[in-house]
Each structure stands twice: as C-alpha cells, then as structure tokens.
Amino acid sequence: MLRKKTGGVATGPRLSSALTEIAGKAIDRRTFLRRSGLAAGGLAAASAFQGGMIQKAEAASDGAAVEIKKSVCTHCAVGCTVLAEVSNGVWIGQEPGFDSPINLGAHCAKGASVRAHANGERRLKYPTKLVDGKWQRISWDEAINEIGDKMMEIRESSGPDSVYWLGSAKHSNEQAYLFRKLYAFWGSNNGDHQARICHSTTVAGVANTWGYGAMTNSFNDMHSSRSIFLIGSNPAEAHPVSLLHIMRAKEQNNAEVIVVDPRFTRTASHATEFVRIRPGTDVAVIWGILWHIFENGWEDETYIAARVWGMDHIRAEVANWTPEEVERVTGVPGSQLRRVARKMATNKPGTVVWCMGGTQHTNGNNNTRAYCILQLALGNIGVAGGGCNIFRGHDNVQGATDFCVLSHSLPGYYGLKKGSWMHWARVWDVDYDYLKGRFASEKLMQSKGIPVSRWIDGVLENKDNIDQPDNLRAMVFWGHAPNSQTRGMEMKAAMEKLDLLVVIDPYPTASAVMHDRKDGVYLLPASLQYETYGSLTASNRSLQWREKVVEPSFESLPDQTIIYKFAKKFGFADQMFKNIKVNNDEPLVEDVTLEFNKGMWTIGYTGQSPDRLKAHMANQHTFDKTTLQANGGPVDGEYYGLPWPCWGTAEMKHPGTPNLYDPSKPVAEGGLNFRARFGVKAPDKWGGQNLLAEGGKEGVGYPVGNELKDGHPEFNMMMLKKLGWDGELTDAERASIEKVAGDKTNWKTDLSGGIQRIAINHGCAPFGNAKARAVVWTFPDPIPIHREPLYTPRRDLLPKYETYSDRQAYRLPTRYASIQKDDYSGEYPLILTTGRLVEYEGGGDESRSNRWLAELQQDMFVEINPFNANGLGIRDGQMVWVETPEKSKIKVRAMLTRRVEKGVAFLPFHFAGMLQGRDLRSKYPKGTDPYVLGEAANTVMTYGYDSVTQMQESKVTLCNIKKA
C-alpha cells in the first residue's frame, strides 16, 4: 500500500544526487576500503561473533544498579576521560565525560569504542607456551618458574645484560616505575619502551635547549594561540580530540593554522596554509622560515637578549639558507615561506606542534632543536598561547618517559652516574653496593643499555663488536608491538636466534607469529588499564587517576602483579618492595605512587600524591577549560592534574605548572624560567658568554616575585647558606640534607624537599634561572644542520648535506656514511614514508581486535600519486609489491591519491599478521587472531638511527612498487 506523501515536492534531489555521486565513484579512503576490503579475515571473524553482551536493559531488569567509573582512554596522550557504566561487574555502556577539561565529553573513533577492548573476545586468555610449534596452555606458576629459571640460567652463563626488558608506554605511572625498578634490580640497563621510537629526539633536543623535554603548554592553552604551526604532525588522525582546541583557536582568534608535511593530511585539509616538503628536510624548511624572519627583523630582540644564548651562531647558519637553496632542497618556494614567516611573526603568540614526522629521522635531534629555535627567535616560549606543544602518542608515554623506562637513565632523568644510583638507592632504602652487586660491573651499571630500536642488533651483531659481555639471548616484549620497529625481516631472524621470547600483553601481538620458532615462546595475559587503577600522565604533563572499571578478564593479571611475581622468582622482592604493601602478590598502587613521590625531585613528580590526584578527578567540573585552573571548590587555584613540575612535597600544595618557563607568575603559582642545566658559562670555543638569564625585568628575565631579581644557578645547600636562607629549614629537613651529602646536597637529591621549599618561598625556581641555548655543544651537530637521509633520492645534494660518519653508540656499531655512499635511487626511485590512521593505534594489535574499529579499516594499503601509478601501470585497488633497498617487500593494495606528491609513497604502520605475502592467521593461538591482518609497514622500513638517541628512521627510505 503506497501512500501519497503530503506536501508534494521532494526537497532533496540536489543533495541526493551529490551524495549518489560520492557513493558512486568515490575514491575516498573509506569507500576504497569498503569496496576492496571485504577482507576474508574481517568477515570470517565477524561471523564468529557470539552476539550481544550483557546490556543495560537486561542488567536493569536484574535490578542491579548501574555505577559510573571514571577512567582515561588508553590510546593517545590527549588524556580523554572515559565514563564507564558498570552493572554487576560488567561494562555495559560509555557516557561522555563532559566534566573533563581536556576532552569535554569528546572522543575519537578509538575513545568511543574502548568498551570493546574490555569486553573483547580476542584477548590472550591464559598463559600459553609454544611446544613443538603448538600453543599449549600452562598455569601462571609454571610460566613464571620456567621463564625465571631460563633467565637465571642466561644470567649465569652470559650475564644480566643478555636479557632485554622491553616495557611499555601503556603502563600506568606506577607500573612504569616498578618496571624500571625491576630491571635495575635485575642488574642491567637493557630496558626501554616506545618513547625511544616516538619522541626520544624530542626529549633529548628540547631538554638540551631549555631544561625539560616535554610539551611546554597544554591542549587547552592553544585556545590563546593566534598561529598554530604543525610540522610532521597529523592530529586529525593521531590526536583527534586536540582538534577541538585547535579549531577553537582557529574560529575564535582567527588563528593561522599552518601545516608543514609531505602529505596533504586530514589536518592539512583544515589548515589555512599547507606547506608540502620533501620528507626529511625539516631543518632546511625551518631555516628557510627563519631566513625571512632575520632578513626582515621579525625576531623578538628583547626576548632573545634576556633569555636565549647562541642565536648569533644560528644566524650564521641560517644565512646560508637563501630562498633559492631552500627551494632546491625542500621543494618549497621562497614566496610561500616568506608568507609563513610573516604569518607567524604577526600572529603572536603562536605555538609549534610536532610529532613523528619530525622526530623519526637520522638527524631527528637537529629537527627538534630547529623547531625550538624558531620559537625562541619569535619569543614564543613561556607565554600562554605559545610554546612547543609536542603531542605524545600513547596514553602514558609521557609518564613512562618520565619514569625512564629507557636504557639511558634512572627515573626522573637522573641519568646513570654513580650519584644517580646513590640517589635512588636512598629512595629505595637499599645499599648502593647491593645494587652494584646485581650488575655485571660498575661500568655496565653506568653505561647506556641497548635501545629498543637496536635490540635486533644486540642479538645479531657479532658479540665482539658489542660493548657488553654477550649477545642478547632473552627478549621480553611487555606491552610493545614488534611491528612498530623497523627492519622487520631482520627482526624475524633475531627472534628466531633468541633462547627465549616472552610476550606479556593483553593480545598475542605479532611477536607471537612473525617468527618460525617451534618453542621457547611464552605468552602471558596482562590486564588492561581498565582492569586496574593508578595514575598516568597526559601529553600536557597533567596526571590523571584511573579507577578500576572491571575486574581482570580471563586469567589476566595487572602488570604490577606480574612484576612482583618475577621479583619474587628472582629473589629480590623483599628488597624491591621494602616499602610497598603487597596483597596477594599485588603491590598496593598508592604505596608505589607515594614511593616515587619521594624521589622524583628533578621534574616535580613529588607533589602529586594519590589523594590530591583523586580529588582532581572528583572535581573535574571546577577547572577552567582554558587555563586548567580550578576556580573555587576543594582544589581552588590548582591546575588540573597538577602538571609537573609540581614542586616540593604534597603538603607544600604547589598547584602544578600549566605552562613551562612562564615568568609572568610566581614559581609558587606555577611560574617558571628556563633551567640552568648547562653550567653558568658557555665553553670558550663557543664564545664563553654568560648562560644565566639577564635583562633584569620582572616577568621577563626572572619570574614575578623572584627575590634574586636576576639569573642564578641551581640551588644546593651551599647556596642556601651563602644567601643566608638556610635558617628557614626545619630541623628535620636539615638533618635529612646533612645525611645525603651535606653542603653538596642539591634540589634534586634533597629527600626532604626543604631546598625546593625555601627557593620557592623566595620566588626562585629550584633549578636555577638560565637562558635557553640555541647551540648544544655536546651534540654531534651543535648547530642543527640539514643532513640528507641515508637512503636519499637526491644524490645531487651530496656531499654538501651528507650524513654522519659510522660510529659506536649505545653499545653498538651504528652505520651512516657507509649506507649513504651507495646510490639506490635508480632501482628504488620513490620516497617511502609512514604514518597513522585514526582508527588504529601503534602496532594495532589491540585496535585491530576491536570489531567496531576493525570494520572501518579492513585493508593495508599504499598511497601512490596517480602520476607514478600511471607510469607503473598500476590501477586503483590493485595488489602491488612494495620493495625497499634492504630487499624486503610487502604485498599491499594500491590507493591512488594526490594526498601524496609525485615521487612519494605512504604506508600506514598499524598492520601486522601478513609477512611478505604470507598470511599468518593460522599461527595465532586459537581465538586470539585480530579481526584484521595486514602487512606491517616496518617489514620494509630500513636502517637508520638518530645520532644522539638511536631513534629509528621510519619516515624516509626508498622503494619501488610493482604490480603483484
């Protein structure tokens, strides 16, 4: 029965036909994938669904109450609050967390679907080991005993450095801290986590420029920006909720949004200016912008004079980067860079944002320092709306970095020197000699371990070339996807050579399947962060406290419990958990927080006690959405999440530091200046000038209320005495200071917090007041310079912009010139780069096991410019082989798009489970294979490591593409 519709005329034919057109011939990414990607795996997996979970309606009919639990999204580091509806212990729904000042209820595709992780059926369910090529279920006790015995045996025969502890940016702060402590007690510096391959060059470059290596301001602070310069950063896909804040600046301040990237990204489509560069030419493009700034006198002279050292050296280098030279190297016309320079100079304050596009290069540390110098020249650091807003990628990669789950430092960036170990020995309440006894030697105790980017070389390299007694023989992947590291085929070989491979993760990950081992592999199910509780640190340095949403699923255990079980097995649990209560093998999380509060003086993780953090979570609605400061209520005046540094003890009630190095307010109220970290005088070779701040104006040269009214070195007991301020110490503080090192006790080692308290009472930053330095004289390139990638297509730019010489770094031989000397550009004519998709994160094992996300991206692909594809006879949607100079190749679907420039191809890096055309689905333990599998981009990404941090080069290599 057809009824005639009232009112007659249909109103929508125009729009309707527009949409038909879209649906009909669309070449957008998703239509492309929908068409091509009726992926066997995806659909097969989908049909295996068991159907509905327990629902709110059902739960309600049971009469069970619905509780709201507050957690934080486990994907990127924006730190979005997740409100979970829980009934009868089951997570039945998600509600928007409107009270959160960070996300105001918003989520991206990942955040809006985290419930599927907790209820996911594709998890590891119980401890499993590989026996004769088959997965066999075992108990936790068996697993810990067998793994522990094997590790002890390796320790006996090859030393503690032959076991590698690879930790995670997915740990909570407490877990990260315990994990770092675990391998310290194990007796090796061979531990690391994702920060090595995400922002290590940022941390090194930025900390060496002005003190701390973290994001200076916050997402919310960008509301005040008048220009936003994003380089090598695609937040529309990698940090979608940050766009909430960026859009606000764009709309309300009419802020310029400038995107510098080799790809026309989704972020670029919302920019006011898009600058397309050749991959790996960041320094050249920044110097190209600075050239116009210096040429036109657009720099902030007053700011530079008071707060920056070494800018003249930069001027000399920048003078070489004329518009013609910049265009020759980067491909960007001078006229565009002049416009960009002018926009940035006339729209202040402006902020600079960068991510992996800038950091993952052989000269990544040069890139990050160049970005900082651009901001220093414009006077944009230490002001609201300015800063270097370095977006971090994992939910707690900032925290795990701060706790130095790294191979080169102890928690709080204390380093590995004897004094650093002595400090932590005091905090841990153990003897230095005891710790020393755990290591193979005092020398190895104080020397950097092998970084995650190079663990495969620790296995494969001839042991005579490694600065430790033997090769790596056991590898622990604890919350770390292997496909996030380059040189995949060599990794396969390394995995096969190991004696022992242990995966501790909620998912099996590609570590379970990418090798052809028959035994010696253990998979231990770890709980999700929704199944435990504790603190984590968002990109903006705010700490948030997660509540436990549900109990651990299946036989999974939270990381802290697994860490304890290993410590117990190794026989040092009594020492390691001396001051931490343990219930049924689970360390009490709050005790862990309180313990690190006692030692993290360098970066001010001392004031964030569990009670204060919980109060912030409970009072989220009282914080201002722009300043992040609480306005009234129980935590009045404090900044959300007590962004570090939160100086002194919790009792001191420091409000946290919302924007680093901002002298416009007193240190006691979150103000700051640049850190005096590099001495008081520059080396003679570099001019020998004063490195302390000068200029004598309150709020510029020194923070408001600073009684010294000038630059000053960092505080120690001696300095307090000279200033006559030591009388203000309490007896207890004085006794504690005497016990540490007497007059030599400084603001970092004083366990009482007295030195920090008094410095701050007098308006001084405990870490001194210095200038930022534009020249890092301790680095391979003191002045950041452009160096061509190892696999460069531009042979004409050599040797002028050649790479470094080969060298020994982090215990291993590291190649540069010996690779660059050979020309591969004939056989491999296209530049290959990698990046993120919004639906997936990291190695993707978790997100590809989430059916709501997996449905949206079912196929791995390579983006090729139609110009190149037509030349190669490749059609849209066809299968192609992508091969790189180290002779590995992947079979993926071609997507023709102008998103990439002619001569450039792009791979997303979240896929795994296919290897050089081979489907590995049958190798996963039953029922744990992710819905979507695909070739890992890093199977083909090639050699190349940063000269300071060993960051991997995953943004530039060469490739050829052929029809499959």
Partner: protein, 197 residues
C-alpha cells in the same frame, strides 16, 4: 520545542569516525550495518571536506510516504522511527531516502534483505522504553533517559550537533558569528582566492 535535528558542521568534521563507533557502542550494531557514516569529498585534495551522515529525521520523510506497510512513523519529538515487526525488508525506503540511511543486514549468501535498520536518534522503537526487547531490536533508548544521541555527544570536535532544532541552530549561529569573516566561513574562498574554503 522544535523537532529533534542533527547538524554536521563540515568546517569542523575531521572524519575521525567517533560518531560511527559511538553508535556501534551504544546500539550494539552488528558488523556490516552502518547507521551513521562519514562521507568525504575531494579526498586527499584541496577542498577536502567531510560530513557525518545518518537518518536526518525528516519532517516530511519520503520513507514514511513510500513504505508499503506503514512501518515508519514520526514521533512527537519529530524523530523518525520504525517497527521491525512490520517491516518486510523491501527496500523501498532505501530508494526514497536522500541520505542512504536505511540499512539492510545481509542474511544469506545472495544478499537477501533482512529487516530495515537505521538511526533511531538513540530513541529505540515502538516497544516499551528501555525494555530488553526494544534494546535488542533498535539499540539504546537514550531519549527516554533524557539524553541525546551518543554520536553527537562524543563528537571529537563538536562538529556533529544533535537535539532540539532551535538549540542546535542557536549553537551553530553563535559559532558562525564567532568565526566572523575568517577562513571558516563558506564563500570566503570565492571572494578572496586561496584563503580557505
């Protein structure tokens, strides 16, 4: 009160797909059914824009007009709902819909049409509010709980707005005023070449 409306601000939509997974999460929509999807035009080219599309809950809905078994109806709030008990899965509504909103689950190898499924504005169906049977057929009834559709509530950039049409248009109007003559306003690019949309 005006009718319930969706509005997607194309200047803000970044195609993050939060609306899509939020919908799946809230309504337990199975694999292959997309009540909401994000459509992108000029993908990878200057002028790239995305909008999130679902049932627009038309005042004078063509699907209601054409449905041969009268399964689709308009609620007091102006939400277009339907009864899966009456639906015969003929797909006429799909012909008539300007937005491609009606979805049909694939129930066999030959793509036989099952009962029509579409966005309910998170308002369930004709069954009792928040009953088990309502949930199973249509998903969560947030309207009955006094809440708005989750897709809009969770939108990453607040591009997707949902609610009382008057309130939605007020929010959007304010936003447009705030943008002023900046690059955010449509038509600017025509007047000042190269300056955004």
């Amino acid at each position: 009160m005006a009718r319930m409306k969706f509005l997607c601000d194309a200047d803000r939509c970044i195609e993050c797909n939060a609306c899509v997974t939020a919908c799946k999460n809230e309504n337990e929509v199975p694999w292959g059914i997309n009540r909401r999807r994000v459509v992108t035009i000029n993908d990878g080219k200057p002028g790239e824009r995305s909008i999130s599309v679902a049932c627009m809950h038309c005042s004078d809905a063509p699907c209601i007009a054409v449905c041969p078994v009268d399964t689709i109806y308009n609620t007091e709030e102006g939400i277009v709902l339907h009864s899966k008990d009456l639906c015969i899965g003929c797909g006429y509504c799909f012909y008539s819909c300007p937005f491609g909103a009606p979805q049909f689950p694939q129930v066999g190898n030959f793509g036989t049409r099952g009962k029509m499924d579409k966005c309910t504005f998170c308002a369930g169906g004709p069954e009792n509010n928040n009953s088990d049977v309502e949930f199973k057929k249509y998903g969560r009834n947030r309207m009955a709980e006094g809440k708005l559709p989750l897709c809009a509530e969770m939108c990453s950039t607040k591009a997707l707005l949902a609610g009382d049409g008057d309130v939605v248009s007020n929010i959007y109007r304010e936003r447009v005023v705030m943008r002023g003559f900046g690059a955010g306003a449509w038509g600017w690019g025509r007047a000042y070449q190269g300056q955004g949309s």
